[in-house]
C-alpha cells in the first residue's frame, strides 16, 4: 500500500440529521479512500438519501463534519461543488431537453471547455450505449437510459467524488451492466464513488460497504470481511418438486437449531451455528413436519444474508 491510495477523500464524522421528531441520520462516521466504490446499503428509510444529500452539500446536517477533498462541506458547500457530482435518487435532468442539450447544460455549469466536452461526451455516450439517442428528449428515454444519461452528465466534468443515490433502481439488467462498466473504469481513473443501494446483490460489487439501519452504520467493511463476520454458517434448503419453498419456510419457523431464515424464491436460506452439525438436525425437523426429500447443503452467504444476520432486517432482493 502506498500513501496515495490511502488518501481519505470523503470523511463523515458524527453526522446527525433530524426531520421533526424523526432522526433520519443518527450519528454516522466513515472514511472513504481515493478510488473506492463505497456502498451505503440499507432498506428504504434507512437514511441513505439524507446522507447523500449532506455529502453533496444540498442539505445541512444538524451536527457533525463532512470533509470532501479537504474541504469543509458543512461550512463551505459551494467550495466543494466543483469537485463533486451528485445524481439524486429522483431523476434530476430536464425531460423537455434532449440528451445533448442536457450534457451541454451541465458541462457549461462546470465550465468544461467545448473540445473537452465534445470528446468526453462522445466517449461517455458510447460507453452508455446512448450514441443513437443524442437528439432524443430525455423524457422519452427508458428508465435505464435516463439513469445512464444522468451518469454521463455527472461525469462530463472530471469529479473527484461521484455521489450516486440508488442509481440502478428500476434499471434493466443490460443498462445496469453498462452502468457498472463505467463505474469500474472510473475507479481506475482514481474517482471516488459513493453509491447507495437497496439491492443486496449490487452491494457485492462495491469495494466497501456501510450497512445502514435506522440512521446508524451498523457494520462497515469489505463485502468479503462482512461475510466472514457473519456468525454461524448458511444452509440452503431446496424442496423437492411439488413442494414450495414457502412451505419449507413456514415449517422451519420455530425450529430450535435455526438462527435465521430467508425465503429466496425457489429455496430457503437457513442460518445455523455450525453447518456440519445442523445439516442433519434441519433435515430431521423437516421430515418431522411432513417435508420429505428436501436437499440441504452448505452455501456461501450473500450480502443479503449477512445484512439479515447482522442487522436483523431485510432489504430488497
Amino acid at each position: 500500500m502506498n500513501s496515495a491510495q490511502d488518501e481519505v477523500v470523503v470523511r463523515a464524522h458524527g453526522l446527525i440529521r433530524r426531520f421533526g421528531s424523526v432522526v433520519a441520520v443518527a450519528g454516522v462516521n466513515f472514511d472513504i479512500l481515493r478510488g473506492e466504490i463505497f456502498g451505503l446499503v440499507g432498506p428504504d428509510g434507512a437514511g441513505k438519501s439524507t446522507i447523500m444529500r449532506m455529502l453533496a452539500g444540498v442539505m445541512g446536517p444538524d451536527a457533525g463534519d463532512i470533509r470532501l477533498a479537504g474541504i469543509d462541506v458543512v461550512a463551505e458547500p459551494e467550495r466543494a461543488k466543483p469537485y463533486l457530482s451528485y445524481m439524486p435518487q429522483r431523476f434530476g435532468l430536464y425531460e423537455d431537453m434532449t440528451v445533448d442539450e442536457n450534457i451541454f447544460f451541465y458541462a457549461t455549469l462546470f465550465e468544461v471547455p467545448g473540445p473537452v466536452r465534445r470528446e468526453r461526451g462522445a466517449g461517455l455516450l458510447e460507453a452508455a450505449g446512448l450514441t443513437p439517442f443524442r437528439r432524443r428528449l430525455a423524457g422519452q428515454l427508458s428508465g435505464g437510459m435516463k439513469q445512464k444519461l444522468g451518469l454521463v452528465c455527472a461525469l462530463i466534468h472530471t469529479p473527484q467524488v461521484l455521489l450516486l443515490d440508488e442509481p440502478t433502481t428500476g434499471v434493466d439488467p443490460v443498462s445496469r451492466r453498462d452502468f457498472w462498466g463505467i463505474l469500474y473504469s472510473l475507479r481506475e481513473q482514481g474517482v471516488t464513488i459513493v453509491l447507495s443501494t437497496a439491492y443486496m446483490d449490487e452491494a457485492e460489487r462495491c469495494s466497501r460497504l456501510a450497512l445502514l439501519h435506522e440512521g446508524v452504520v451498523r457494520y462497515c467493511d469489505t463485502p468479503a470481511r462482512l461475510k466472514q463476520a457473519m456468525p454461524g454458517a448458511l444452509l440452503a434448503v431446496t424442496p423437492s418438486p411439488g413442494t414450495s419453498a414457502r412451505d419449507v419456510h413456514a415449517a422451519l419457523i420455530g425450529a430450535p437449531c435455526v438462527l435465521g431464515l430467508l425465503l429466496m424464491g425457489d429455496h430457503v436460506n437457513v442460518r445455523v451455528d455450525d453447518a456440519e452439525l445442523r445439516r442433519a438436525d434441519v433435515a430431521a425437523w423437516l421430515i418431522q413436519h411432513g417435508i420429505v426429500n428436501a436437499e440441504v447443503c452448505r452455501i456461501e452467504p450473500s450480502i443479503e444474508d449477512v445484512f439479515v444476520a447482522l442487522v436483523g432486517s431485510q432489504g430488497k432482493a
Binding site: 451528485y86 423537455d96 457549461t108 455549469l109
Partner: protein, 380 residues
C-alpha cells in the same frame, strides 16, 4: 459570476419556454385578450343601446330619420319625449343612454342650406359604451346622408357640394371631455404588464422544485445570482414582447394619441418589466409548488395593479391613508409615466420622479430575490 454559466441558464430556460407552446401562447395572447377586455370594459358587445327621441318637428323626414335609428340593430328607441325637462329626467334616471334631438326647423334648414344637424346627447358615465354608441350613431347618420344624396341627385340631376347632408352633433353629459379612454388605456398597459409579468416568472423556480430538477441543479457550482439573471433574461424578452403588443394595441387599435418619444417609452417599459419580473421571481423562490406560486403572484399583484395604481380610480379621490399606501405601489408610477408620455409627450427629464421610484423598486426587489434563494433543499 461567470457569463458562460449565466448564458447556459438563459439558453436552457429559452429552450424550455420554446418547447412549451401552450404556455408561450398564453404568455403572448393573454395580454392581448386582457387588453381587449379591460379596454372595452364590460361593454364589449354593444347592441340595442337605449335611445330616447325628442322630435320637435315630427315631419315625414324627421320621422324617417328616427325610423332609421330604430331599425338599426344598434339602437332601441325606448321613449318619445316631448320637452327638455323630460329629456333631462330620462337621462338622470338612466332610462336611456342617449337621446336624439331633432330641431323644429330641421326640414327647413336642410332644404334651404342643404345641411342640417341632429343633436345626440350621451351619458358618458360609461365611457366605453358611449364611445361605441357615438360611433354607431355616426354610422346611422352616414347612411341617412347617403340616401339624401341619392334622392337629391335623382331630383336635381347634379350633386351640389353641400346638399342634403346631415351632421351629428354629439354632446356628452357628465363627462364633457370624453377623454377617459385616452386616460385609461395607457394605464391598462401598466396593469396588464404588472399581472402577466409576475405570472411569467412565478413558475420558473417552482417548476424546478416540482419536477425534481432543482436538487441536481443546486449540487453544481452555479451561483444564485447566475441562476436569477439567467432565468430572468428570456422572460424579459417575453415581457417586452407583451408590452409591445399592448402598446401597439393602445396606439393603433384604441387610437390613443401618442405624443411622446419612443425611446422614453422603451426605457421606462424595460424598467417596469424588470420590477414586475422580479416580483414573480421572488414569489417563485419562496413557494415551491407551481400552482401556489402562480396564485400567490396573482393575489400579490392584483390589488396594487387594479385598485391602487390609479389607472381607473383616480388616486386623488381616494381616502388619505389609501393615497399614502399607493406610494408603495409600483404600478402607480408606471401609470403616471405612460399617461404623461402618451398624452403630454413628456420626456425622461420630466418623469425623473416616477422613474427614480421605479429604479428604487427594481433594485430592492432584485436584491431581495437574489438573497432569498438558497442552494439548499431545506430552508435552513
Amino acid at each position: 459570476m461567470k457569463l458562460k454559466r449565466l448564458l447556459a441558464i438563459a439558453y436552457k430556460e429559452t429552450l424550455q419556454i420554446w418547447r412549451d407552446p401552450r404556455s408561450l401562447a398564453i404568455a403572448l395572447l393573454m395580454p392581448l385578450m386582457q387588453m381587449g377586455l379591460l379596454g372595452y370594459g364590460v361593454s364589449l358587445d354593444v347592441r340595442h343601446v337605449a335611445l330616447c327621441v325628442y322630435d320637435q318637428e315630427n315631419s315625414q323626414i324627421s320621422r324617417a330619420l328616427v325610423q332609421d335609428f330604430a331599425s338599426s340593430n344598434w339602437f332601441a328607441v325606448v321613449r318619445q319625449l316631448h320637452n327638455e325637462a323630460e329629456l333631462r329626467d330620462a337621462m338622470d334616471r338612466s332610462v336611456c343612454i342617449g337621446a336624439i334631438t331633432i330641431a323644429s326647423n330641421f326640414t327647413r334648414t336642410l332644404d334651404s342650406s342643404g345641411t342640417a344637424s341632429v343633436q345626440a346627447i350621451f351619458d358618458a358615465t360609461d365611457v366605453n359604451t358611449t364611445n361605441i354608441a357615438i360611433g354607431y350613431a355616426q354610422g346611422v347618420i352616414a347612411l341617412v346622408t347617403a340616401d339624401f344624396e341619392r334622392n337629391w341627385l335623382r331630383m336635381h340631376g347634379e350633386l351640389a357640394q353641400t346638399v342634403g347632408s346631415v351632421d351629428l352633433e354629439p354632446r356628452v353629459m357628465f363627462n364633457e371631455a370624453l377623454d377617459s379612454r385616452n386616460f385609461i388605456i395607457p394605464g391598462v398597459v401598466a396593469v396588464i404588464l404588472g399581472l402577466v409579468g409576475a405570472q411569467l416568472t412565478s413558475l420558473t423556480v417552482s417548476r424546478e422544485w416540482e419536477r425534481g430538477t432543482m436538487e441536481q441543479l443546486i449540487s453544481t457550482p452555479v451561483t444564485a445570482l447566475e441562476l436569477m439573471i439567467g432565468k430572468l433574461m428570456p422572460y424579459f424578452i417575453v415581457g417586452l414582447v407583451d408590452a409591445g403588443f399592448c402598446l401597439i394595441a393602445a396606439i393603433f387599435w384604441f387610437r390613443v394619441p401618442f405624443r411622446g418619444a419612443f425611446g422614453t417609452l422603451a426605457a421606462t417599459t424595460m424598467l417596469y418589466t424588470l420590477v414586475v419580473l422580479g416580483i414573480g421571481y421572488l414569489v417563485s423562490v419562496r413557494i415551491r409548488s407551481q400552482l401556489g406560486a402562480s396564485q400567490v403572484a396573482l393575489l400579490l399583484t392584483m390589488l396594487p395593479t387594479t385598485l391602487l395604481s390609479g389607472y381607473t380610480f383616480p388616486i386623488d379621490q381616494m381616502p388619505h391613508f389609501v393615497q399614502m399606501i399607493t406610494y408603495a405601489v409600483y404600478p402607480r408610477y408606471f401609470v403616471t409615466i405612460l399617461r404623461a408620455v402618451f398624452l403630454k409627450g413628456s420626456g425622461l427629464s420630466e418623469l425623473i420622479g416616477p422613474i427614480l421610484a421605479l429604479v428604487v423598486f427594481a433594485v430592492l426587489i432584485i436584491r431581495i430575490a437574489a438573497r432569498s434563494f438558497h442552494k439548499r433543499l431545506d430552508e435552513r
